[in-house]
């Protein structure tokens, strides 16, 4: 069974605060993704990576940095959090080629920026 874990599950911070969201996958997948989920928008891709040290920009990258330290670990960084970044964040992993169509998602991190 594919496994993606995220921490923390819930986070509250203040405007201007510094937040790091963590994701680990044990699927031996090359690709990892960060999405945000907002009502009316579905899931939107923030950043993704196809291996350790690699980072690619997604569709809504402004205000976010990411880092892939190992094949297993992918981090999302909000260095100056704003209320507009209040959202539910999902990490996912997948294989390559047609394997990329099946993404395995973590349980999500709910972030509130006051």
């Amino acid at each position: 069974e594919a496994a993606v874990t995220q921490s923390p599950r819930n986070k509250v911070t203040v405007t201007g605060g510094n937040v790091t969201l963590s994701c680990r996958q044990t699927n031996s997948h090359n690709y990892m993704y960060w999405y945000r989920q907002d009502t009316g928008h579905g899931l939107r891709l923030i950043h993704y990576s196809y291996g350790a040290g690699n980072l690619q920009i997604g569709d809504v990258p402004d205000g976010y940095k990411a880092t892939r330290t190992t094949q297993e670990d992918f981090f999302l960084l909000l260095e100056l959090a704003s209320p507009s970044q209040t959202s539910l964040y999902f990490c996912a992993s997948s294989g390559t080629g047609e394997g990329g169509d099946t993404q395995y998602f973590g349980p999500g991190t709910r972030l509130l920026v006051l």
């Binding site: 899931l43 993704y48 690619q56 099946t102 993404q103 395995y104 998602f105």
Partner: protein, 115 residues
């Protein structure tokens, strides 16, 4: 733009009734389409996928979807809904971005099941 639209934000059905969740796509060429489901307090998981071929595809838990090129649609169906189907359902399309195939998701349809 290549995208999917789910026109119904919320659908309510009675347990045992049939279900159809709508998805319309906008895509130049033949799309690869997907349905994902998000159960309460969980991440998304793949329900079924369409690769060009047979227009009707079967998924898990009795779900199926039918691709229609003439209607630009990929609707999800189930003959008899169970209370455990209470979830949010997302339609998605594979989009080529540079050399990367990414999934672009619709806004989702929240399904409520009444006893």
């Amino acid at each position: 733009a290549q995208s999917v639209t789910q026109p119904d934000a919320r659908v309510t059905v009675s347990e045992g009734a049939s279900l159809q969740l709508r998805c319309k796509y906008s895509y130049f060429g033949t799309p690869y389409l997907f349905w994902y489901v998000q159960y309460p307090r969980q991440g998304l998981q793949l329900l079924l996928k369409y690769y060009p071929g047979d227009p009707v595809v079967q998924g898990v838990n009795g779900f199926e979807a039918e691709f229609s090129k003439s209607n630009s649609s990929f609707h999800l169906r189930k003959a008899s809904v169970h209370w455990s189907d209470w979830a949010v359902y997302f339609c998605a399309v594979r989009v080529l971005s540079g050399s990367f195939n990414k999934l672009t998701f619709g806004a989702g349809t929240r399904l409520a099941v009444c006893p």
